[in-house]
Symmetry: C2
Subunit: 334 residues, 2 copies
């Protein structure tokens, strides 16, 4: 249980009878050291269980090998999937990923961003929650690139990686229309976020392309986190003029809808947004996307900006794809 002292460059240097700088070179620019010396240094380092201190290294070099990811909640599979993609690319480039979650509040976002910036992350990746990211503008000017994921940052010059939401919703809606559906519901909660706004727009564009100009009476754009998805769907189906098809704007609504539809003999068609584990078993058609790839692209964008913080910002759009599994392909039972 004895706690020994951690060996430093100087300790190794002393043992190997060389200068600290030579030891430093062995661990970072080996080619500048003669093989014999290097070997002696390595032997000494091994004996002392020496391990270079990245933190000190970065302090001196002014660099940083960490990248911060500000996330709503790691529990949400979407975030953790994106984080997977990030981590893979970053690890391949010698960077480590620091994850911090915001509890999905704007204050939380600012607080954790602050913590990460104090750690001098080389770049800040985030899924913005708040309405305004202008508080990061200073840091960006100080050379810390900000990459916004899933939704664009507001009031801030930042690169972003987003989904092809509108097209995804458009094609889901069109697919239902092509099968004869005219009364197509769109349900989501919360609705007041970028992704839903985009999806709703895609949905409406598709409906409009079929001749209907005004918003449909089957839209349920909620903003109450406590709303019960199943109840919303049940209400919808109890209407006089009930929809024959439902598009669920996100996973939670989709699973809520499933709970209701399960017990129906002639359930309405259902298309979800965002794929989930058992969707194929359940035969649920969804508008899917590759969240790992989203993370990957975001990380690559970050690495690029770390190299060159100047230059125009970019927006990368990740494609979505309608996957037919049955639930979205049956015609209206009317």
């Amino acid at each position: 249980m004895s706690i020994r002292q951690r060996a430093t460059l100087d300790d190794v240097a002393r043992l190997a009878h060389v200068s600290p700088k030579t030891v430093s070179r062995v661990f970072s620019q080996r080619h500048l050291v003669s093989p014999a010396t290097a070997e002696a240094v390595l032997a000494a380092a091994k004996r002392l269980k020496f391990r270079p201190n990245t933190v000190a290294r970065n302090l001196r070099g002014g660099a940083s090998n960490t990248v911060g990811f500000v996330i709503g909640e790691l529990l949400n599979p979407f975030y953790s999937t994106v984080a997977t993609g990030l981590e893979r690319v970053l690890a391949d480039n010698g960077k480590t990923l620091i994850v911090a979650s915001t509890d999905d509040t704007a204050e939380g976002e600012e607080r954790v961003a602050d913590t990460l910036l104090a750690q001098r992350v080389a770049a800040l990746l985030m899924v913005p929650v708040g309405e305004d990211q202008s508080y990061l503008e200073g840091e960006r000017q100080l050379g810390c690139p900000v990459i916004s994921i899933d939704r664009p940052a507001r009031n801030l010059v930042a690169d972003s990686v987003v989904l092809e939401n509108r097209t995804g919703a458009f094609s889901a809606t069109r697919s239902l229309m092509a099968r004869g559906h005219r009364k197509i519901a769109y349900i989501c909660n919360p609705a007041a976020v970028y992704t839903q706004a985009e999806r709703i727009q895609g949905y409406r564009e598709a409906i409009a392309s079929g001749g209907r100009a005004e918003p449909t009476p089957w839209e349920r754009l909620l903003d109450d986190p406590a709303a019960n998805p199943a109840a919303v769907v049940a209400d919808l189906l109890a209407m006089d003029d009930a929809p024959t098809a439902i598009i669920a704007g996100n996973n939670r609504m989709c699973i809520g809808a499933l709970q209701v539809l399960d017990s129906l003999e002639h359930p309405p068609a259902l298309i979800g947004f965002d794929d989930f584990d058992t969707a194929d078993i359940l035969g649920v058609s969804v508008v899917s996307h590759d969240a790992v790839d989203m993370g990957r692209q975001a990380a690559e964008l970050a690495l690029e900006r770390i190299m060159d913080p100047t230059g125009f910002t970019r927006q990368i759009i990740i494609p979505t794809k309608l996957i037919h599994r049955g639930s979205g392909e049956h015609p209206p039972y009317a």
Copy 2:
């Protein structure tokens, strides 16, 4: 696009006409500074957009506010759920979480552990993959606590947080037996990991308690990552003496089993291990656990060890709970 210089303590000190140390105090021991001075310093800091550098602070203090988590793959919901619990507790205690994944290989594990240790994490949490973690013994003696999650570390003195695997499997098996099942299968892949070994033992103990001494003919303990879960289940049910109930040792096997059982008129009873998103909709009974809590407890253990690296190591056991949802409660159709 101009990149300004980042302000340091000294810059702020100069602007506020005080010594750097005073500025330092304002940001860490405010009560030792007179209110007037503090205010002046804060004003100067604000004007310069100064942000204390945690890295430099830690370098001097010899401490660290980061904790590393070595993980197989963030994509796996179990890992990301544990990470959630970790992150919550760590954030509450002013620490940030660095996540690094190993691709589930022993070499990967050693490599990323090395990277994290070079970052001087205050503690190393890990889900061990390799057969031997003795390579960490040196670091532990150097004062970096190691906490092993989900499985105990091998050849290393380390605290650990594991599930009540054996009891979970035992009670699942007994529950099936109580409903009249005598031919109970246990399927898992891979089988050569601690958690499965424990679960299998619990299963066998339960079977033995019913009178059967030797291993059952319905065990399918695979170790081929490429094995198709559905095919294994189909084979099992095609036996002359087919089982009337199945216990799936993990999520993947459980979902595989579902795919087969779905099409059967009289499916065998099924109990899975580890809960999943749509298990309630699908009516799948499972032995469940609270992975967030696992993370939480691991983090608390880590914090405790950071405070006091000496002292006896502990093993925390997280309870498992059998959740009845239907699939595991029907009697044998024989």
